[in-house]
Amino acid sequence: MSVDGAAQSDGEVLLRVTDVKKHFPVQSAAFFRRSHDFVHAVDGVSLELRRGETLGLVGETGCGKSTLARCIMRLYDITDGTVEFEGRDITKLSTRSMRPIRRDMQMIFQDPYGSLNPRRRVGSIIGDPFAIHGLADGKSRKSKVQEVMELVGLNPEHYNRFPAEFSGGQRQRIGVARALALRPKLIVCDEPVSALDVSIQAQIINLLSDLQEELDLTYIFIAHDLSVVRHVSDRVAVMYLGKVAELGEVESVYGHARHPYTSALLSAVPLPDPERAKERERIILVGDVPSPVAPPSGCRFHPRCPKAKDLCVHEDPALVPRLDDPPGHVAACHFPVADGENIADSTPEIGIEERIVEEGLVGNV
């Protein structure tokens, strides 16, 4: 979360994800299920995560962010591809061999209400990881739990309280404390602040960033709020329909978005500044994300893309540096957006049957 842009780009690779796929069989009400129908939730994602950095993960709902996170955590069996943690291939490890590795990877979830059992005391909730891994019991567990409670800004004297006695922000602190209990190396934060009010959200973001510095943590930070992601991340990956559309240093991606989807996403972020909001050209994407059961051919974004041409319908663009971008900034687009180009002025050059058209949305908006 080095906000000053001091990304630790030469740090050692902690996690390497190579061409990971996760396909879920479609549940169908029919008597015999067609076994060849799958939800392509994650469809070939490759990433590297360096020690001490924060990688932001953004994209519309259903694009596969949580599924990817769960694949990395090995909470799902992976359909294809590999996940390496500290140089070790963990893709096929048994539950037993995974156990010591699980201590090093933890997850924080979105819902500070749903993810905590209301009938258990917070001390025991935060102490779960110790229990699961058979570490520290009795007095020593309690003192360790109180230590993390202190670390995340909870009053250690509230050890015996129930989740209902805490506010939303404090419950999220409980989630953070539980994730930190075993001092992991990697924390995957899946929408950790999305359910919180802005004033509380800022408290949790500062907490996560302090903890990162203090404990040398590496984060994957999933959020739908692009301003939050910009603030916390060193690098960002933009996902669309199970694939990475664009990836690079935050300032490079936010300042020089090459993929039309990234451009559109950024232009849709509401700016809390009326003057800047007025000046800005908005790109309004038509339609929603198509079904991941049968993703569109070629470039998956083509039915909604204002720049689409024939090539896009037939050929899947590679995720490589475009225009003059540095090697770390890659985009999967045949016709990348140039600096200063306004894609709101583009019209797709593909057949109408290849596109999503919504009359009420185009023009005079």
Partner: protein, 346 residues
């Protein structure tokens, strides 16, 4: 005359823990064809206030007045209100399934809505109007999709269908309660664009309730900032964003990552909103306010700042920037105690 004028609205519920004061003397007005943004953190009373105005709160103690074209909605019979809802005032909620019935086709629901208020409209004509409405809100192939069930629509389409419902009878006012909170930014942009366009076309006034200052910056002409059941600050959009007076407004804006330039750290508001059952004495923001001084043990009224009615703030702070800074420095001097209270408090 304002289209809707709410004066000193108070709403309280009795709960097992005591009386919960959800709205404590709220006043605001909405002009024809304009958008009023109501912004505030969750629990600040935004939904209770607007639902009460429309006669949708149950088991509450209500006082004050809500004049719609001069007639007090709070004094109307259920029957009169039913007529106003839909025909005069449309409503849009966060969850489209709360107003779209899952078992009936979207088109059928629109047709029923149109015919319930005007029996003279024939079935065919009502259907044409339904298709037209769906087209207006950007539903692709509206003549076919009109026969879909709500679950066959995506989230964004359902939200737009609900806008179509709210707009079906061409109301003068639409109350939208967090209409885009559950949506992706891309779909949010579509929905807001549709609302803006309909407003331009039909001159509808809108009350936009949201906790997102970005949405406010985009659509609101005037803004009410709510906290603990009351208005902390009111003014037009640029006053609220660039010349705000109230420390709560300032705190909300400062805690946003997108506000101002990139900074090392965010500036959250410390602590959390108060309980509405056991409100602190004095200014409700006092326990979290970086400026709080001796005067704040008394609850401030909504003062006029500058010309009457243009800009109001419920705060004892002087408007003079230098005097105000001095108050803050004095408060910071005493901050050691305040911080101690903050971290130990649950």
């Amino acid at each position: 005359m304002a289209l809707l004028e709410v004066n000193d609205l108070q709403v309280s519920f009795s709960t097992p823990d005591g009386v919960l004061k959800a709205v404590r003397g709220l006043s605001f007005s909405v002009d024809e064809g304009k958008t009023l943004g109501i912004v505030g953190e969750s629990g600040s009373g935004k939904s209770v206030a607007t639902q009460t105005i429309m006669g949708l709160t149950q088991g509450a103690r209500i006082s004050g007045e809500a004049l719609f074209e001069g007639h007090d909605l709070l004094q109307m019979s259920t029957h009169q209100l039913q007529h106003i809802r839909g025909a005069q005032v449309g409503m849009i909620f966060q969850d489209p399934l709360s107003s779209l019935h899952p078992y009936y086709r979207v088109g059928w629901q629109l047709i029923e809505m149109i015919r319930a208020h005007d029996k003279s409209v024939g079935k065919h004509k009502a259907r044409d109007r339904a298709v037209e409405l769906l087209r207006l809100v950007g539903i692709p192939q509206p003549d076919r999709r009109v026969d879909d069930f709500p679950h066959q629509f995506s989230g964004g389409m359902r939200q737009r269908a609900m806008i179509a419902m709210a707009m079906a009878l061409n109301p003068k006012l639409v109350i939208a309660d967090e209409p885009t909170t559950a949506l992706d930014v891309t779909v949010q942009a579509q929905v807001l664009a549709v609302m803006k366009r309909l407003q331009e076309e039909f001159g509808t006034a809108i009350i936009m309730i949201t906790h997102d200052l970005g949405v406010i910056a985009d659509v609101a002409d005037d803004v009410v900032v709510m906290y603990a059941g009351k208005a902390m600050e009111t003014g037009d959009r640029s006053t609220i964003f660039y010349r705000h007076h109230n420390p709560y407004t300032e705190g909300l804006l400062l805690s946003l990552p997108a506000y101002g330039d990139d900074r090392e750290r965010l500036h959250p508001i410390s602590g959390q909103p108060p309980s509405l059952i056991t409100l602190p004495a004095g200014c409700p923001f006092r326990p979290r306010c970086p400026y709080a001084f001796d005067k704040c043990v008394e609850e401030p009224p909504l003062f006029d700042i500058g010309r009457a009615g243009d800009h109001q703030s419920a705060c004892w702070l002087p408007t003079d920037m230098r005097k105000r800074e001095k108050v803050r420095r004095d408060t910071l001097g005493k901050a050691a105690e305040v911080v101690a209270v903050d971290t130990s408090e649950v």
